[in-house]
Amino acid sequence: MLTKGDKILIATVILLAFAIFTGFQIYGFTGGKTYAVIEINGKEYQKIALGEDGPKLQLKLPGAIGEVVLEIDRDRVRVVSSDCPDKDCIRQGWVSRPGQTLVCLPNRVVVKIENDKSTGDLDGVSF
């Protein structure tokens, strides 16, 4: 029932699917640069470029009630220590994808991951 053309078509589709898949695996999904935007008390404090060639450093931030220590590891960010009562910000762990945030409410510190190309702030889409 399958003609020769059908078989060639099936093989082409499978190959094409794998080619696109590997292409996206190698070249990444969005392109564009990812930034960690640090806000203290609602004002932008610092903007740090992340990525494969991103910095490896610890940052001490002056929060509202004490010091917040941020660790930046190339393409991801976390809170190492904070002078707040509940330590929820530390428990949020590493964030790296655009749209993710780190929040220390008592210290009024917010770290947002942003990307200049993709909006990345969609939480869900229904169709």
Binding site: L2, G5, L9, I10, V13, I14, A17, I20, F24, S118
Partner: protein
Amino acid sequence: MAKSKKLVYLSLLVAGGVALHMVESMIPVPFPVPGAKLGLANIISLLAIVLYGTREGLQVNILRCLIGSLLGGSMSSLIYSLSGAVSSTLVMGIAVKYFENVFSLVGVSILGSITHNFAQVTVASVILSTFGLYSYLPFLMLVGLFTGVFTGLAANFVKDKLSVSLSLMETVDRRR
């Protein structure tokens, strides 16, 4: 007479397409990929193309999408299904008309489902303005390959039966 007869048959195809559309929305999707579906209504559009032609296939498919979305869907689902339906019908029509001896109905159906996937991903990435959605295309393509073979086989079986009964009706008409 022949004109109204064709109208009736096309309407029957539309009705069948809407029924399949509704039945399909009640079947839980057997794939772990969101957005993938069986595409049962593609059987009907394939039949309309094979039995009548590309223009009639387009008519049947667009009407099917409009009525199906009115019965069980939303405005956004209409955009997705209409774009997929129009582009896949055009591609299948071209394949049936010009590459009839290259592809069987299975191949035509695979072409249609891949085009459908591609059009939907394109529309979705325009709406959401992220081209990262194309990374999702390979999975949809592989699922579309599978469902395309399935709907192509189904259309093939129905076509054989239907063209026999259609030609029977013609001869009955002529005898009268």
